[in-house]
Symmetry: C2
């Protein structure tokens, strides 16, 4: 008989966030759950790691049967510390989230939630990041549970290919969405990204804000289209970034010769 699956949970909103607490409760029936989260919100940390500064791990009281730890590091630090200094066996699954706010489209690049999932993936462990399109600290995460159940079951059973993890976004409908689809990340960008302020000394400073612009609103294969239509989006995401060189980059094949001739 197979051992109980070991599920490593992390997030970027910090150990006290409602999103991760909801996720933990939903995951404990699937196996042994160990939670290693940042001790404070670390949104927008992407795959950042802590270099040169000391990192600390603090064990906490169990929560709903899960072993709990907080660290002073980033989401990626949490996964690395769990792998090297907390877990005594290799996890079968890494689950990150549930994030308070969307990580669809380009947001995935900056997301600490997806940073943790990508780090699990870089360790060769099947990894999933879940996000709900609602930033509120008090958002309703129950509407995500069918997505969590579906994907956790299937990924525990089938695994994921080396170098590929899943970026799952759930639209905030106030009830469980009726549909889930495989999508591609939407092409989009942020506009007017900073608001300018003047401090009491008369000096400018800037705070991140901005509006997301969907560059392909009619493309129904994208995660943004699905979310706008009340559908859960599942984007398989590559961590190793290998590409096939497209025709428009053919010139680069001559670069060795150019280099030699310089």
């Amino acid at each position: 008989m197979k051992n109980t699956p070991l599920i490593l949970v992390s997030n970027d909103d910090g150990i006290d966030a409602k999103g991760v607490r909801s996720l933990i409760e939903r995951l404990t029936p699937y196996g042994e759950v160990v939670v290693v989260c940042p001790d404070q919100p670390r949104s927008g940390q992407s795959m950042a790691i802590t270099v040169n500064d000391p990192l600390r791990i603090t064990p906490l009281e169990d929560f709903k049967g899960a072993r709990m730890y907080k660290t002073s590091g980033t989401p990626v630090d949490c996964i690395k510390l769990a792998m090297h200094h907390i877990l005594d066996r290799r996890p079968d699954l890494v689950v990150s989230g549930i994030n308070h706010g969307t990580n669809a489209s380009v947001n995935e690049l900056y997301s600490g939630t997806m940073g943790a999932a990508c780090e699990g993936c870089a360790f060769g462990i099947p990894s999933i990041g879940f996000s709900l399109t609602n930033h509120s600290s008090d958002a309703d995460f129950e509407q995500c549970f069918r997505a969590v159940d579906t994907l956790v079951k299937e990924v525990l059973e089938n695994g994921l290919p080396e170098g590929i993890c899943l970026n799952v976004n759930i639209p905030d409908l106030g009830h469980t969405p009726e549909e889930m689809r495989i999508c591609v990340p939407c092409q989009g960008h942020w506009n007017d990204e900073y608001r300018e302020y003047i401090d009491p000394a008369g000096k400018k400073f800037y705070l991140l804000c901005g509006t997301f612009i969907n560059d392909e609103p009619e493309n129904e294969h994208t995660d943004e289209w699905c979310l706008a239509h009340g559908i859960v989006s599942v984007v398989p995401t590559s961590v190793n970034r290998k590409i096939n060189i497209p025709k428009s980059l053919d010139w680069i094949k001559g670069i060795s010769e150019k280099y030699k001739s310089l």
Copy 2:
């Protein structure tokens, strides 16, 4: 006649690093150079952005004809602030580096140098990250100049396809490498990533260290193989992470039905 190219320069070792100073000197003959760097070293920042905290931009004295700014943010913040609040026209090229230390293989994921290049790429601007495989603050960057010349010339002329930037690593040979090749990122991982310490109060803390393990040392198409053989590696890197679903992930095509049936 075409306008003078505008080149935006950033890095993750901070505005005072020898690597970026060497790069600036080498780039000024190619166009108008504007430099926007972190005010302190921000290694390992990946594509992290500063959320909620105020960001400041400080203009500095020109250096070798380049306009100079430092910011209190990450490498990605530097690119975003440059695009929204410093530059008065769209750059033709973003160049990041020259990093003190390798960003080959999986290191690219955590690299702030590549974070800045990827952010330039996300803005749709041809972008290149340069790194020298020597961490020393006093490393010899002249050995990188032929690589910089070759790629800056070619990319200014030919551009790069949407969503693809270049991760260029130069082996530290003590002289200009004789060869440059297009590579794929090497499969590899870090081992024993943390050293454990005990603080004066008797509590444990951890510092990042570790040894890089090359999982495919015989594969001569990888960046690590090239660097080990004294060859400059050029890895075209995808920022949008779109994938074609491989056979081993075929099961996921049935996920919509599974979700409905739950």
